[in-house]
């Protein structure tokens, strides 16, 4: 993007522009950094609707340039970040500003900067520091036809996830200037390999074989993982609710590459990517503490940062002690649970974030946790109903699988206490994963050309197509509707769960036994049951 050089009266008046980018929410905007050097009152002026962190870049860049051997003349230097109507925020423009100035000063050839995306923060000594959001920016640049990027060395691996893009990771400004003058790339940059990028996170995770007994919980976990259904576990303390939730990601089938990239983008924007393993292959497990604020859960800030629901995309969002969360915070989950996206409106605009997570919630049946075991529970019925009322009915309606976890019997754990005695073999995560994977593959095939890929995500309109019932099932559903007090929403959820159970068995249509099992996992409705 070099412009013609104007020569007037022996001194050079030069103009240069380079390409950089910014992420606002998940939207990538390209920013052209222009620099102009002219006679006039000496100084560096920065324009273009800048936030204060970008305005400060001027001082950083000036010092970094000087420390990298570029002498700044006593000229009037103007840096403009276009488009002028977009508020610029963040430190990713530093390197672009430095290079635009260098080019304008004639330190590097103007032509060397054309069609290159430049991102990076500067430190005063000329080092280039990492910035968040590199992956989506590079991805977008590739889509726009850009084929070369200069990135901070720490972000190089992240950038390389976009295949076909030439990534030049640079540790210092000096190296970049050297490269742009001569094409020389220092060794250090290419050193860290990319071989580890497909590490499976499974080995490090806890295994289902650690849980003794509790076959009903394992069954519910299997169905949840196989069809991406939300799971609510109710039970006394120490019955294995949290253990189950922590093991759920380990039985979910592996993420597709697209999902990994999507997830990495989310973590990139949030600045949570690891430098050495930028591609996230293990499904996330997010367990925000119950003091979490609404903004932290859903996403918040003037330009909203992704919240826990977004960070849990393609993985598990675990809410332990569900009743302890503030009610207003929990109600925020309603929309993402229905639409699998989060829409946040602020004065700066409306931001749409992905929130395609599997919700696992755990709670006690009463304040002390032991109800209905009256020999231990001393809560009054008022206390219990007040405790349960903390979770609204609409939210409960959105839980596909509800299960009461029971206290573990001594016989189930007894083996672990005796020296030398073999513990009864428990079903392991890999076995469960194989079962879930089979059902998963059936779903992938069925929904091949559709925007969703799991039973838990079938929109209501498509339910008749995939979850059609025969006469027997219809009759069962009709009697369940009256007898169990189902809502229209819970009916749909039961159909989706029944579809997953049928897929686990590999049958084409939903049979009565599948529907019956799905009905057994519905919420035990205290309003309806009245016990």
């Amino acid at each position: 993007m070099a412009e013609d050089v104007l020569s007037r009266g022996g001194s050079f008046f030069m103009f240069a522009s380079v390409l950089s980018a910014a992420v606002v929410g998940f939207n990538v905007y390209f920013v052209t950094v222009e620099a102009d050097v002219s006679d006039g009152l000496p100084g560096l002026h920065m324009v273009g609707y800048l936030a204060s962190d970008v305005r400060e870049a001027g001082e950083r860049v000036r010092t970094a340039l000087r420390n990298s051997g570029v002498r700044l003349p006593a000229k009037r230097m103007i840096v403009n970040l276009a488009p002028a109507d977009l508020r610029k925020q963040g430190s990713m423009f530093d390197l672009a500003i430095a290079l635009a100035l260098s080019a304008a000063l004639g330190e590097i050839p103007l032509s060397s900067l054309s069609d290159i995306l430049i991102l990076g923060e500067m430190s005063l000594n000329g080092e280039i520091c990492s910035v968040p959001g590199v992956l989506p920016m590079v991805q977008q640049a590739f889509a726009q036809g850009i084929r070369t990027c200069i990135l901070p060395a720490q972000n190089a691996l992240e950038g390389k996830l976009v295949s076909g893009m030439r990534i030049i990771g640079m540790p210092t400004l000096g190296d970049v200037l050297e490269y742009l003058r001569t094409g020389y790339i220092p060794d250090v940059v290419s050193a860290p390999g990319n071989e580890n990028r497909n590490i499976s996170g499974y080995n490090a995770e806890p295994d289902f074989s650690d849980i003794h007994g509790q076959s009903s919980v394992k069954r519910a976990a299997l169905i949840a993982a196989a069809g991406c259904h939300n799971l609510l576990l109710t039970g006394p303390p120490g019955s294995g609710k949290t253990m189950t939730a922590r093991r759920l990601p380990s039985i979910m089938p592996p993420m597709s590459f697209e999902e990994s990239i999507q997830l990495s983008c989310i973590y990139s924007v949030s600045g949570l990517l690891e430098e050495h393993a930028p591609l996230i292959t293990a499904r996330p497990f997010r367990a925000p503490h119950h003091t979490v604020s609404g903004a932290a859960l859903i996403g918040g800030g003037p330009i909203p940062k992704p919240g826990e629901v977004t960070l849990a995309s393609y993985g598990v969002l675990f809410l332990d002690e569900l009743t302890e969360y503030r009610r207003s915070v929990l109600e925020l989950l309603r929309q993402p649970l229905e639409e699998h996206t989060v829409c946040i409106s602020r004065t700066r605009g409306t931001f749409l974030y992905p929130a395609d997570f599997l919700l696992v919630a755990a709670m006690n049946p009463c304040p002390c946790g032991y109800y209905p075991d009256r020999s231990r529970c001393t809560c009054s019925s008022g206390e219990i109903s007040r405790y349960r009322d903390r979770i609204s009915k609409p939210l409960l309606d959105r839980m596909d699988l509800c299960l009461e976890v029971e206290q573990i019997h001594f016989e189930d754990v007894a083996g672990t206490f005796d020296r030398g005695r073999s513990v009864p073999e428990e079903i392991s995560s890999s076995e469960l994963r194989a079962l879930a994977y089979r059902a998963w593959q059936i779903q992938q095939e069925r929904y091949m050309r559709l925007p969703y890929s799991h039973n838990g995500r079938i929109p209501s309109a498509d339910l008749p197509q995939w979850c059609g019932l025969d006469a027997g099932c219809r009759h069962m559903m009709a009697s369940a509707f009256g007898r169990m007090g189902l809502s229209a929403r819970s009916c749909h959820r039961i159909l989706r769960v029944a579809r997953t159970i049928a897929d686990l068995e590999g049958t084409e249509h939903i049979h009565e036994e599948h529907l019956a099992e799905a009905l057994a996992f519905r919420i035990a409705d205290p309003w309806h049951a009245g016990f």
Partner: protein, 368 residues
């Protein structure tokens, strides 16, 4: 609106005058109007100087000839709201209640009083029943309703309201005696029952409309529950249950007491078991209770044996493992040796066929 009702209302409202004194006045003067018109000395002879002065000074509250009098308006307003005042002098004041020691001078009623003739039963019990207690209460209540026996209870949480609900659902009559004003629904969660009682039964209270519930009012209303009935059936009472107070009062009033037994060691049936030990009648089964009370047994249109015949062998096996005491899924798994998916399927089938029910805790109980 009769003037007599108005005078009874005036006397009933009188503060600092005990139930007993009001009764004495009625037995001496005959009607409240006579009391109103009686001279101070007459009154003093019966209730003493101090109370007589009080009564005379309170005469000014009521001015029956003035249409705009506060008390006249109030009385009219309450009548328009369907609340009627029944004092001892009212011809419809229930005879059973009149007999008891400490009979209330009067009470407020929304709805109807039970039939004067025939048997009346009270059903009382735990506020936090187990599914077992709930089930038994519903069965007994249903049978009583079919036998056209009015069921008296206290509309409390638990057995009280469960029984009354079941009676109304079976088309029977039920009366609630409250420990607060009859216009107040306490506890709030039984609002549905309260509204239904207004239509299909009655709500009674000796406390004036608007009285907030107070702990001390409840034992007092218990004497009305037992007083209005001939038999008192206690279901699931703990050792310190209020139901035992009612049962004690019932015995004092000469009513028959029946108790539903619980398992030995079951804290929530301990009171019932003690009652049986002390000589209360035992409810071996709802049917046998009916027989003992010389009531007709309802026609059995749903014989459990018919259910059994159509059940598949495995369903039958699971059904036989179910109990009136709720069992958890894991217990059933151990007992039936079935895989969880199959067990859950069978339980849902049983539930849909009306042979089993799931409690809010996800446990299962048998239905007949």
């Amino acid at each position: 609106m009769t003037m007599r009702g108005l005078y009874a209302y005036w006397l009933g409202q009188m503060p600092n005058l005990s139930n007993e004194m009001k009764r004495k006045l009625i037995s001496a003067f005959g009607t409240s109007e006579e009391v109103f018109n009686a001279g101070r000395n007459h009154l003093a002879a019966i209730i003493g100087e101090e109370k007589a002065d009080l009564l005379v000074s309170c005469k000014s509250i009521l001015n029956p000839d003035n249409e705009c009098d506060r008390m006249v308006l109030e009385f009219r307003k309450l009548s328009a709201l369907g609340m009627n005042y029944y004092s001892l002098e009212h011809p419809k004041y229930p005879e059973r209640l009149r007999e008891i020691h400490q009979a209330p001078f009067g009470f407020w009623l929304i709805g109807e009083l039970p039939e004067a003739k025939g048997l009346a039963a009270a059903m009382i019990g735990s506020r936090e029943p187990t599914p077992y207690g709930k089930r038994i209460a519903e069965e007994i209540a249903g049978m009583l309703a079919q036998a056209k026996v009015p069921v008296i209870s206290g509309m409390a949480r638990g057995i009280d309201s469960i029984s009354q609900k079941a009676v109304l659902e079976a088309g029977g009559y039920s009366l609630a005696a409250l420990g607060c004003g009859a216009d107040i629904c306490y506890p709030r969660e039984v609002a549905g029952l309260y509204e239904k009682l207004k239509q299909q039964g009655g709500i009674l209270s000796e406390y004036p409309p608007g009285t907030k519930p107070q702990p001390c009012y409840f034992p007092a209303r218990n004497r009305i529950i037992s007083g209005l009935s001939d038999v008192v059936i206690v279901i699931e009472a703990g050792r310190k249950s209020g139901s035992l107070i009612t049962a004690g009062m019932a015995l004092d009033q000469g009513r028959d007491v029946y108790a539903v037994p619980g398992r030995c060691g079951d804290l929530r049936s301990e009171g019932c078991n003690c009652l049986i030990h002390d000589g209360a009648g035992i409810v071996v089964s709802p049917g046998e209770l009916m027989e003992e009370l010389h009531l007709p047994l309802p026609d059995k249109d749903s014989d459990p044996r018919i259910n059994k015949r159509i059940l598949a062998p495995k369903e039958d096996m699971v059904y036989s493992c179910l109990d009136l005491y709720a069992k958890s899924l894991n217990t059933l798994e151990d007992e039936t040796h079935l895989e969880i998916p199959e067990l859950m399927r069978i339980l849902t089938m049983l539930e849909l066929e009306g042979c089993a029910s799931r409690t809010a805790q996800g446990h299962f109980i048998r239905l007949e």
